[in-house]
Subunit: 182 residues, 2 copies
């Protein structure tokens, strides 16, 4: 199956190509994202939207940051929350002494016009009391993966990519594609 | 023009019927809402979605709570934020001494399959330091409209409806409909 990764982010496209080890093409389209905490819900609608524009098998991706104490919020809505209150503000959403557990999860949806297939990769960790590190991007300075004493922003891009939720999700997709296409 | 108000909320339907003073029918459909701060963006996509299901002229509504200091956030995303951190949490998003200005805005979109018409009603006010009152619903306890010393939740439903953003938006729509349909 020839897949078209619909994303405006070239870094994600390069990462997917490297992990999947197959020819993948990129289409830059600005897709609508529905309001939902769970990125798995967001990617299904996004894939439907992408397919209606591209009319060939598509894959789309979305990543959320889920804070346990807040019932998973902000999840897929993270960019709006970060845009409004910043990483510092997110750290302050949790009072002192409260459970700071969180997980980062990437959801990928592949849709061929008939069937939706959703793949995901998850990294458990904690929201740090304040941002640390300046590497990488987005909310990396406030997420410290389990078993590590550094945030994603204190790691090199290679270190982060080796353990990231996105890499795990792409790996799950790769396994499916290799099974499906002998 | 015969209009179908697509909403699962019977109170909103009754309010619209009373203000518009014309026969309106209700369709209960669960419509997808896109991620956006501005309810005017949300209602356009929602109307498109509603029209594709109903195939007759539709109207849809959405209301946001916009906090000036946070660049308008949460706006149309208010229900997710309130679900996660509650009204108390929203009050705490603004530190002491900070500008607490906010506005509530209802956006209505009418779509006949050809043209989108957006109507809106706005009430300026402030986010109270803590919730007050138990009347009405949602974030009413933390929004105090300008020129009043009580929150929406400290008013009776009739008092609130007389000055609300929703009533203003319906009134703007009524004016248009009366001009358009002699």
């Amino acid at each position: 199956m020839e897949l078209i990764f619909v994303t405006s982010n070239s870094n994600k496209f390069r990462e997917a190509s490297a992990i999947l080890g197959r020819s993948l093409s990129q289409r830059r389209l600005d897709l609508k994202e529905i309001q939902a905490i769970d990125a798995k819900d967001v990617v299904k609608e996004k894939a439907k939207d992408a397919y209606s524009l591209v009319k060939r098998p598509v894959m789309v991706e979305d990543t959320g940051l889920y804070i346990i104490k807040l019932g998973g919020f902000p999840g897929a809505l993270i960019r709006w929350v970060r845009g409004a209150i910043g990483n510092e503000g997110i750290c302050r959403l949790l009072g002192e002494g409260e459970d700071r557990s969180a997980y980062a999860e990437t959801a990928i949806c592949v849709y061929d016009g008939r069937e939706f297939r959703v793949f995901s990769g998850r990294v458990d960790g904690t929201i740090t009391p304040s941002p640390r590190g300046s590497g990488n991007f987005g909310w990396d300075p406030i997420f410290q993966p389990e078993g590590h004493d550094r945030t994603f922003a204190e790691m090199s891009a290679d270190e982060k990519n080796a353990i990231s939720m996105r890499a795990k999700a792409f790996a799950e997709l790769k396994e499916y594609l290799e099974g499906a296409v002998p």
